[in-house]
Symmetry: C2
Subunit: 381 residues, 2 copies
């Protein structure tokens, strides 16, 4: 029994490039490419995270707590069993999904989510679990990371999961909004990026290992709400993108132990009319690599490396909730040379996640109760 | 006899800060500052270049061939005598003006302009002359640079004049439009930045000195039409900004002997409907530091260093003919972190030159037969 009804034509889906001529496809002119926007599937319930399986199927989380598989034919599966229970509240719920770099051997899938206090208190936190994906079941599920402290809030959980080339797992977190000052202290996980091994153990060379009053999982701090992360394909370094308060969305290249300034330094102008900080430069904090004022409400980002869009190779593509846009940052080395706003007209939903498919096409999911899974392919002459 | 009628109130002008409350002032909200736009003088005939004298007066060129002094009271002088004859045609005429770094001692003022062929042929080129400013006269005028070859065109003369901290004079040039291919060869000055001593002699360490078939004044090549230049206040390096064909306006940091790609590599999309080049990356050419698509039609730029706008210190302010805007590029080191579009609504003319005044305010002139000289000052609470 399919939980969701497949809305697009299976005939069209089976034709591959024939998508181009279906009513559901829209062609978009950009600076360097013609792109075609095709809705692969819809009816997803506030999808949040997207990851591709080796066979081309997509794993997609829904914030309410379900994980589904979407076939290349657009068919949405029933919920995968074994997913941990989540706190589905405001910005919380089932969040990101990532495959183990050795998935082909170990079948591990990683999920980030907001978790209730196991001790029964009113608080919650971001947590990470992993399990082996066997058929439509997640097995041997274990929690490998639990944010501290448990805190009563429905906001700013982060989170993205990315593996570095060395096999470290980066988990990006949020400041829980009303606990924003915690982002500047090291005895908690609020407003941090953490680095762990895939089994949850702490790498011995993490920057604060052995430091009193510092949690050893912490990689970098002074973040607000980091919902995007990617590894630079040439340098192997972690890049993140975080939401600013009102203005001040930031790209950072988090270095071990560094302080990215929130909330003492920000380019955000104000929030609910009140000034957070009028300081953009504070001693001991690192300037953003790039920032947006006003905010575009950055979600996830990728370094595009596919052959589908040759002129975009090496570019950073940043999804945004506001304006249903993808910001294309043309990079030379780490330097942003140019920003192009893509798809603002052609896509109508808030873009919650963006990934590159095994086919080199770009895929996004939209943050909506009738969430869409969208394919962006090349339509050059 | 005043050639131009002073249009603004001399009473208001004499009041200094009282400008703020005159009808002619407009307040503008920007990301970091409130700014006030005041028209200091108008009635300038297509002003092109602006430089400040030590006493705060401005020297302003008019493209038709006149050089005037504008007092801090807004009074426009009669033409300064001794200015070389110019070819006033399309984009050609009297262009930039710059003061010698040792002006207080030697009184030298430098002018760039389009010059007729001294041999009487139909061509023209950009040239640079200098003379001593004594009262309202330019004396001992000598031509220190003559572009080669003379070429029959009314387009793409460049040019800006800037002195490096070491005392070199950089002259930025254009490709003369229909001669664009010349930008890739070294036997001519088209599409080049040249570096000379203030007396016109060639520095011995210029990159092509002694090379057959290369003009020794050349510093860098592969430029299109460089109408903006400034020296970075910390690094002492030359930065330039040039017009792209349709899209592809570029900031570059020209290094000795380097090729900036025009016309074989460009981010410009097309011109008059025809493709110039579909290549953005060509071996042996340097990528722009930053670029605009679509074009904003960049004119001049400054690194802002004043105390009037503390949050803008170190920023690059780029004037633009399109959209009557100033692009504020927030820099961290050389890296652009953010772009803000300033004054697009408050200023109605094409911005032809931008300079920082001795008072720390920002001044622009507008490209119009009733050209304005505008002061941008701080109006923060
Ligand atoms: Ca920051
Ligand atoms: Ca170039």
């Amino acid at each position: 029994m399919l939980h969701h009804t497949l809305k697009i034509s299976l005939v069209a889906a089976a034709c591959g490039l024939a998508f181009a001529t279906t009513a559901n496809a829209e062609e978009v002119t950009t600076e360097r490419h013609q792109a075609e926007i095709t809705t692969v599937a819809e009816g997803l319930n506030f999808p949040w995270g997207l990851a591709f399986l080796p066979n081309g199927d997509a794993l997609i989380t829904e914030k309410s707590g379900t994980l589904r598989r979407v076939g290349t034919d657009g068919v949405i599966s029933t919920p995968i069993s074994g997913v941990p229970e989540v706190v589905y509240k405001s910005q919380g719920g089932l969040l990101d999904v990532a495959l183990d770099p050795n998935f082909a051997e170990n079948e591990y899938v990683y999920l980030s989510y907001s978790e209730a206090d196991p001790a029964g208190g009113p608080g919650n936190s971001t947590a990470v679990a992993r399990g082996k994906l066997v058929g439509n079941n997640l097995q041997e599920v274990e929690v490998i990371f639990r944010g501290a402290p448990k805190y009563e809030s429905g906001a700013h959980f982060g989170s993205r999961l990315v593996f570095s080339p060395e096999g470290y797992l980066f988990v990006t977190l949020g400041d829980r909004y009303s606990a924003m000052d915690d982002a500047q202290t090291l005895d908690n996980h609020h407003g941090k990026v953490v680095r762990i091994w895939p089994d949850g153990s702490v790498p011995e060379d993490n920057p604060f290992v052995g430091q009193d009053d510092a949690l050893p999982e912490i990689w970098s701090y002074g973040h607000r709400n980091v919902q995007g992360a990617a590894i630079h394909p040439d340098t192997g370094k972690l890049w993140t993108v975080e939401h600013g308060p009102k203005g001040g969305d930031e790209i950072n290249i988090p270095e071990a132990g560094a302080n990215y300034g929130w909330p003492v330094a920000t380019y955000g102008v104000d929030y609910d009319g009140s000034i957070i900080s009028d300081k953009t430069h504070v001693e001991g904090t690192v300037q953003p690599h790039y920032y947006w004022v006003p905010s575009i409400a950055t979600s996830n980002m990728i370094f595009y490396t596919g052959s589908e869009f040759p002129a975009w190779q090496g570019d950073l593509l940043v999804g945004a909730l506001k304006g249903s846009q993808v910001a294309r940052l043309d990079l030379e080395g780490d330097r942003v040379m140019h920003e192009e706003t893509l798809f603002a007209e052609a896509i109508s939903g808030r873009i919650r996640d963006i990934e590159q498919g095994p086919d080199g096409a770009i895929y996004v999911i939209t943050d909506d109760r009738n969430g869409q899974f969208i394919r962006i392919s090349n339509a050059d002459d």
